[in-house]
């Protein structure tokens, strides 16, 4: 019983959400690094950046972040060499979209967070054993797990645990 116009709005918002949060975010380079032309080690070196270079993160891909420096140079550095600035302010485009989907309006955004699993919701929660029991019915059989892995060409690899 959803009206066509509303349905279209939902679909449009949905596809915007699916496109991911390609937000330009301020950050800092935490150690000196080469600025690469592409997201791999052997890519051309576009220049050397010093530690603490302020930058804007444009997107991520694998272990790499695409960044722009204050003087307008764009390229790729290792994700773990970038530290995103601790955010301030109240939300961003993704959260605003969330509000529209949830309430049908951009007015009156909740300040206590989304309903469902907030601290307040947990405090009020009555334990629900019926829902827990449902989990047993969805347990994956070994054959299903095998199929899941092979359909993605995932193969198990031996990797040692990391030390702190």
């Amino acid at each position: 019983m959803i009206r066509p116009a509303f349905r279209q709005l939902i679909l449009a918002l949905g596809s915007m959400l699916l496109a991911g949060s390609a937000l330009a975010t301020p950050g800092t380079l935490i150690r000196a690094a080469e600025l690469k032309a592409d997201a791999f080690v052997d890519a051309a070196n576009l220049g050397n950046l010093t530690a603490d270079t302020p930058l804007t993160v444009l997107e991520g891909k694998g272990g790499w972040s695409k960044i722009r420096t204050a003087d307008g140079k764009t390229g790729w550095v290792r994700l773990l060499n970038v530290r995103i600035a601790a955010a301030s302010g109240d939300g961003n485009a993704l959260a605003t979209l969330g509000n529209v989907v949830r309430t049908g309006t951009t007015q009156g955004a909740a300040t206590t967070g989304v309903k469902g699993l907030s601290k307040e919701d947990l405090a009020k929660a009555q334990p629900n054993l019926r829902e827990v029991a449902k989990l047993d019915g969805f347990r994956a059989r070994p054959a299903d797990i095998n199929r899941f892995a092979t359909s993605r060409k995932l193969t198990a690899r031996e990797i040692a645990e990391l030390n702190p």
Binding site: R83, V114, F138, E158
Partner: protein
Amino acid sequence: MKTLIIALSGLLLASGCTEQLRRAGIDENQVQAISNVATTLSRPDYTPAEEAQIGQLSAATLLGAAPLIADRETMQYINQLGGWIARQTGRNDINWRFGVINSSNVNAFAAPDGYVFVTKGLLRTLNDESELAGVVAHEIAHVIKRHYLVAVRKKDTTNALANVAVTTAQKGGVKNADILAGPLANIVQNLYASGLDKGDEYEADRLGVVYATRAGYDPYGLPRVLNLYAQNANSNGFDLLFSTHPSPQDRLQQLGKAMGERLAAYETDKINNTAFLRIKRKAVQLPDPKS
């Protein structure tokens, strides 16, 4: 070491020599602190049956706040993905159960005895299956390292479960209702609202990256998720995640130290995301349950 602490604190308390201790520069608070540690350590571990009950109570608490997604494909998907990653841990003895919670809050949870949950809000936020694998692997690590059980044990000063067992023994065993109504329920509720120790989170991050990489996923899935959290600080739906975890910046700092370039050779963007994107689309379209 454990025995030594217990023996020492027992000796200190029994001797009642607080005046001498004070002169030696040890105050009563310190004696009390040692005594508390000793009490915790000397309490016997939960039995496997008790662990299962705590796990069930924990899962019931989370699902009491918001139910599972009632979509068979989504539930099968998360159980197959989780089951594949859990295989890489060598803990086939654990009764792994995975679920997607129908809440727009962005979060993931683990409970003792093999329960792992991610929220609909998390699925909406992630970009690919390697990122989801990183989060699920992080929760699997909490289960394997028994982080929640140890935390419950520390707060369960009255040994609530054993008391329930004693008082209900005459009634023919412990009923679920007795546990759900007991003090343990409060402990579990508070734990999910307050979170684990920072060290537990850092350990789960390190192990999560390893488990996901063993399963064939991109090692940088979890670091990308942490970056995504950092970008969404103060956004709606991230409140509990932020108040119960160290900052994403600190987690990336710790993870960066541990990872270095050790797993760079396993980096991959070749994983088929078709199924993930279909599940994500469903998550985007599904409304929150009516309360």
